[in-house]
């Protein structure tokens, strides 16, 4: 086959060698640990084959945490390299690989899994459903995301990392200028994960449309479910574009077609257009669920219903529509002509209008409230000023003519981190602190949480605020080094120190997870925050069938009014019926492994082998279509027992909230 074994592993770089050893040791460690604890069977039956939306959600979140590590280390490496002029830590090639993988990992394998994970855990609970519409498809979505993430992540030790930026612009990303296989990882791994995401989008559209509890009309749906719904629609509308673009890229790179190449009449600008036709909606895919989480958190901890619910719904729908109409703002400088640039400047600035409406609605939700500074709420509060800075600099960038001076500088890098970190990372932290008891039955420690919060927020501002000024002083993005004469040194150093502080903040989060898992009080109320929506109407952690009896909804903030009117909270035993639940299945897991193997072979351009492996996918599909298992029934007695277990305990509420 002409395999070049000597080129298979990346060699010659001490950092990479270190990682290779670390990865090997970790893998051996995991295998030894699981075997020692005799947990293989447990791992298989409880997790790898599960179709329970809550467990799938938790696995997504776990992937998010791991990938935040990976992407964060990439970020720190970059900051260390550019901390001083003429830094020597990374060479140009290595820096290029690092910012490419950082961008891809952060957006596709950190932000997306975190958000989809929280959506998975919470949305069915919020709308009073027992699972998502297609549980097994949901498992497949997760495992494909996982498989894509793993394939992408091995690239830096096996085969070589992609190095053409997370945007992978042609012709640079084509074979003419990147003849190694590094960029194949980009084309194939993102494709696999993207298929998973697309299926999630479809799954949640159906779930939210068809499976809401009785009485919950669309306009009585909690805000997080609304944003998840709109996000799912954007996913279904935009991910097919990515699928096609990546397929064409794969053809160009592996089969020698000429869609985007220089020679043979390719159109490099076509890639740029397709990429951003997906890429801009993608940033709203990650930011809208975050908006939803902030809405829930702000409303709960202000003890008030969301201000202007209808205009909130209107603005997310508006944002979703506009998000499809602005992609050209990523390349005003391509010279498309003043008419085009003017139109896209205007559509882009128009997004500021619904976003402004949301901002004010959040502020007025807090007005006349009683604001409790829990860690979750702190994240939501810090979001407001930080995201505002991201937003106004976004409007500045939207002004086509001014963008000619900001484009591709560190000003832009600062802007999108000011949008993505408050808009996604703060939101995820807020959501995790808020919903942790729902997922695990104990809270995260508030003291550690506050340390985490302050270090992270201060570190974040210190890292990215200087970049605005560096950009205005002419510092371009993606440059691995700069000279002392450029005068960028001092601010770059401040920024690097900020990144260190931010990293310490994240370390406190990880420690908090560990600490709370070991020592946190397990005897807590199922509704520790005195919250407003249905997910708090059932046990924490949630029993596998979610609700013994599906609650009936009469208004927004359904659970709040159930508590207030003391209606619908309890039910008598003879109201209980058998519950129909889906069975576990190993097929999604196996199928995604086949996907991963086939993808790996394709990345190395062993086409026939990849094709043979891909047959496995068809076989899995065939097996699935002859699968007549339609689940099982939970007997009433079992339900009674479980319900008795959590409903009749005295649990302190007050002492956990300060």
């Amino acid at each position: 086959m002409g395999i070049k074994w000597d080129r298979f592993f990346i060699t010659g770089d001490p950092l990479i060698l270190g990682s290779q050893i670390a990865i090997l040791l970790t893998m051996i460690g995991i295998v030894v640990l699981v075997s020692y604890l005799k947990k293989w069977k447990w791992l298989w039956t409880e997790w790898l084959t599960t179709v329970d939306h809550k467990r799938i959600g938790i696995m997504y979140i776990l992937v998010g945490v791991l990938m935040f590590f990976r992407g964060g280390i990439d970020g720190l490496l970059m900051k260390a390299q550019t901390a001083t002029p003429d830094g020597q830590l990374l060479d140009a090639q290595h820096y290029n690989e690092v910012f490419t993988t950082h961008g891809v990992v952060m957006i596709l394998f950190m932000a997306m899994p975190f958000l989809i994970g929280i959506m998975n855990v919470i949305v069915p609970l919020q709308i009073g459903a027992r699972d998502v519409a297609f549980p097994q498809l949901n498992a497949l979505s997760f495992w494909l995301t996982f498989s894509g993430a793993m394939l992408f992540n091995i690239s830096f030790v096996i085969g070589g990392s992609p190095d053409a930026g997370w945007t992978a612009y042609f012709p640079l990303a084509g074979k003419e200028f990147s003849p190694g296989i590094g960029n194949n990882f980009y084309a194939v791994a993102i494709q696999i994960a993207g298929i998973g995401t697309l299926m999630t989008g479809i799954n949640f559209i159906v779930t939210i449309l068809k499976m809401r509890a009785k009485g919950m009309t669309l306009m009585k749906m909690p805000m997080f479910s609304w944003t998840s719904f709109v996000t799912s629609i954007i996913i279904a509308a935009s991910f097919p574009i990515l699928t096609v673009a990546l397929a064409l890229m794969t053809f160009d790179r592996i089969f020698g077609t000429h869609f985007f190449t220089l020679s043979g009449g390719g159109m490099d600008m076509m890639w740029v257009n397709l990429f951003w036709l997906w890429g801009h909606p993608e940033v709203y895919i990650v930011v809208l669920p975050a908006f939803g989480m902030f809405s829930e958190v702000i409303s709960t901890f202000s003890r008030k219903t969301l201000f202007g619910y209808k205009s909130m719904v209107g603005s997310i729908v508006g944002i979703a529509i506009l998000s499809m109409l602005v992609w050209v703002h990523h390349f005003f400088t391509m010279g498309a002509g003043p008419g085009v640039n003017s139109i896209f400047s205007i559509t882009t600035m128009m997004i500021a209008i619904p976003t402004g409406v949301k901002m004010f609605n959040w502020l007025f939700t807090m007005r006349k409230g009683r604001i409790q500074f829990t860690t979750a709420m702190l994240w939501a509060l810090a979001f407001v000023p930080c995201f505002l800075i991201g937003g106004i600099t976004g409007v500045m960038l939207a002004m086509g003519a001014a963008d000619y001076q900001y484009h591709n500088t560190l000003f832009l890098v600062a802007h999108f981190h000011y949008v993505l970190i408050p808009g996604v990372v703060f939101a995820v932290f807020a959501g995790l602190y808020y919903w942790w008891p729902k997922m695990f039955g104990h809270m995260l420690n508030e003291k550690l949480g506050k340390l985490h919060f302050w270090l992270f927020v201060i570190g974040f501002n210190m890292t990215f605020m200087p970049m605005f000024f560096l950009g205005l002083n002419g510092a371009v993005r993606r440059a691995y080094t700069y000279s002392a004469e450029s005068g960028f040194g001092p601010l770059m150093l401040v920024s690097a120190i900020g990144a260190g502080i931010l990293a310490i903040g994240f370390a406190f989060f990880c420690y908090n997870i560990y600490w709370s898992a070991r020592y946190a009080d397990r005897n807590i109320s199922s509704d520790p925050w005195d919250a407003r929506t249905l997910e708090w109407a059932t046990a924490s952690p949630v029993q596998f069938y979610n609700f013994a009896k599906i609650p009936e909804v009469t208004s927004l903030d359904a659970f709040w009014y159930m508590k207030k009117k003391n209606k619908g909270l309890k039910f008598s035993n003879d109201e209980l019926e058998e519950i129909h639940m889906p069975s576990n299945s190993g097929l999604p897991f196996i199928m995604s492994i086949v996907f991963g193997i086939s993808g790996f072979l394709l990345v190395f351009e062993w086409k026939i082998a990849a094709l043979v492996a891909a047959l496995g996918i068809l076989i899995c599909l065939a097996i699935r279509s002859f699968d007549y298992n339609d689940g099982y029934h939970v007997p009433v007695d079992e339900i009674k027992e479980i319900e008795y277990g959590w409903q009749n305990k005295e649990k302190g509420v007050e002492k956990h909230v300060n």
Binding site: G180, V476, E605
Partner: protein, 333 residues
């Protein structure tokens, strides 16, 4: 409990810092020509509104968070049920709309202006310079003067310069922040940019669009000289600089880092990369990296192949090999 309230003023400081940029020495705020000045006018106009927004929202935020914070003495306070207010919601929809309109009009205006010779210079005859970006250098051709420079460009002060931009390979972006905004250079495509320097001096130009390993070094200098000095320089170049041959030019296009070069003729004689049907020059073998080598495909219209260079044969072989080929022949370049 009031820790949170240190954050608001702290953050409020940041945009003030941002604004104080106006009188610092950041290149975008120190324009050296009418184009950059025009853009700066727009930027400053937008900053006024941004400051306004920041002050209002931060103020409101600080006020609300402070006033309605939970205190031990308001433990029994039960917030009112309040679902919204049509009046307020209309207000905060209308104000952003007005701000967007206030920003849109000058933006569109400036976008159109930047496509033309800057105001006040319409009567001055522009000079044309063809810019060709290659990995990793900038090539400047003077069609009227018949000379060519690499990595530096001299222009007459106070004269509008019409830069015709194209690329011999990857997509790049031509930017001289002191003189004006940037524009992409693309192969088989021509974009245009007018710039004027109204003071003599040296300005740094860069590529802002990532194009591989040598990207960070893709800088050039623009030197604006008096008309006499410029003419004298052209004359000197004509007399003393070496001639560029096609073969040497192809070498120029290979991925290298070069210092300044000067030639007494220019490459437009045999190729203009901005032309839709111009020849393609690519050198995939020269871009091998530490990653696993992938297959390199034959490029039907590649100039180098047509010229019957040595690689032709191995590329044909590549095409004939089975599906597991990985183009290893090209190793070791």
């Amino acid at each position: 409990m009031f820790k949170k309230n240190h954050l608001a003023p702290l953050l409020a400081l940041l945009p003030v810092l941002l604004l104080s940029g106006c009188d610092s020495n950041m290149v975008v705020f120190e324009p050296k020509g009418p184009v950059a000045r025009e853009i700066l006018g727009l930027i400053n106009w937008s900053l006024v509104f941004m400051l306004l927004i920041v002050v209002v929202v931060f103020g409101l935020f600080g006020y609300i968070v402070w006033k309605y914070r939970a205190r031990p003495d308001n433990k029994d306070y039960e917030p009112p049920e309040e679902h919204g207010s049509t009046k307020l919601e209309i207000i905060w929809t209308a104000i952003p709309i007005l701000i967007v309109i206030a920003l849109t009009i000058p933006t569109v205006n400036t976008i159109y202006k930047l496509e033309k010779v800057p105001e006040g210079y319409e009567n001055k005859k522009p000079i044309t310079i063809n810019v060709t970006s290659a990995d990793w250098k900038w090539i400047f051709s003077y069609p009227e003067q018949g000379i060519e420079t690499v990595n530096y460009v001299n222009i007459p002060v106070g004269t509008p310069v019409k830069f015709k931009l194209t690329s011999a390979g990857t997509m790049q972006s031509f930017w001289v922040p002191a003189l004006g905004g940037q524009k992409y250079t693309m192969n088989k495509m021509e974009t245009q940019l007018y710039l004027v320097a109204d003071h003599p001096g040296e300005y740094l130009g860069k590529n802002t669009n990532f194009n591989g390993k040598g990207y960070a070094d893709m800088e050039f200098t623009v030197e604006s000289k008096s008309q006499q000095a410029f003419d004298k320089w052209v004359k000197d170049v004509k007399k003393t600089a070496p001639k560029l041959t096609e073969k040497k030019y192809i070498d120029l296009l290979k991925p290298t880092h070069l210092g300044r070069l000067t030639f007494s003729n220019n490459h437009l004689a045999w190729v203009n990369h901005g032309d839709m049907n111009s020849k393609t020059y690519t050198f995939p073998e020269l871009y091998r990296n530490h990653d696993y080598p992938g297959q390199i495909f034959k490029q039907p219209d590649n100039q180098k192949n047509k010229a019957g260079k040595t690689d032709d044969k191995s590329m044909d072989m590549n095409m004939k090999m089975d599906g597991h080929s990985n183009g290893g022949e090209h190793n070791g370049h």
